[in-house]
Symmetry: D2
């Protein structure tokens, strides 16, 4: 069992102990995920692009960012568990698709080809 | 090297081959993540809570959902790579915090205690 | 001068008095808007569809909802002011487009025709 | 009747003609709003802060931005109509609150005091 599988097991136990499956239908979990992504976004709201790397290393901000990264990640895992999806498989499939949609020689150094669609 | 580590290596290679690191500052990646979470949210926009589990198994919708799950997950990994964060460690830390913030005996079966904050 | 125009004038004054135009480029304002929309979304995260109307009238929740409605609306006005857009004109144009895209006789009572795209 | 009131009347008629009130509970409308805000956000995803004003004037991008501004605004109006809220009053109330929370002399020129919370 790798680290992600161990985390998934602990997360299932956390939800079951609290009898929260009843609130965790996929619609509610998609809302949870989007609102947590909004909180992470808020951390960079007033940070200039040029300062975003440095701001991510400021201890107080970094602690908040890592907390939101944790929330977003757990929300995504909860949704995957509920709908019976393998997050690693979904990411691998999308990365392979992007590899063919965005051939390196055509998009190299161009920002107008979104990395993900 | 587990599955997640292998995916992370392929993702780094994907970005480097396209010379996209220049666009991938943490602010832009937080925007990418939030917009992808919005696309996943859109899949459940008009689905009633009572129908959300079944809708997630409809083949056409499921393909779109898995595609968005892939995008959200890859966006989160890109952000973690950029800021030097370990996503599994961030999720484990948040899950442990939630375990103490929401003692099972106090919140069992109550929806007004959000699972994540 | 109607109510919206009066509000717009007060909002411009509010920003100018604080010398905040320097932070209010359109990218940052789009982030502000999305994060505020995420906070509004969070108010309905654990509310079942069947309970959403009643929950919106609960005094404590309603106060929070109206506060977020205010934030989302002000964010949208700030963005419109910055890029020189008329929000009423943009809404009228989109409503007219939707009228032709979704003919009443074809979409009546069907949820799989999104009201807005 | 001012411009906003006229638009509100047309929007009510648009929904009623399509018998879409049944899908427009406040939870679904909050999801609509957040997903439309995510689409607007996506327009600025790869645009550098320094280029965001100019990019907003590029004709093709501007058309997409105005379309999303329309969607976000209409979504907000739909939610206000459903819960019986006056959007102008909500914005005025929040602006007044922000005026007292962020005294001009204390926050002038400082980005670490968010304009809206």
């Amino acid at each position: 069992m790798d680290e992600l599988q161990a985390l998934q097991a602990r997360l299932r136990e956390f939800v079951a102990e609290r009898d929260w499956q009843q609130f965790h239908d996929p619609k509610n979990l998609a809302m949870l995920l989007a609102s947590e992504a909004g909180e992470l976004l808020a951390e960079y709201r007033w940070i200039h692009n040029n300062d975003a790397d440095a701001a991510s290393q400021d201890p107080a901000r970094r602690a908040r960012i890592l907390s939101e990264v944790g929330d977003v990640g757990l929300s995504l895992l909860l949704l995957c568990q509920r709908i019976g999806a393998d997050p690693i498989a979904a990411m691998n499939a999308k990365l392979e698709l992007n590899r063919t949609r965005y051939p390196a020689d055509l998009v190299r150094g161009k920002s107008d080809r979104p990395v993900l669609k």
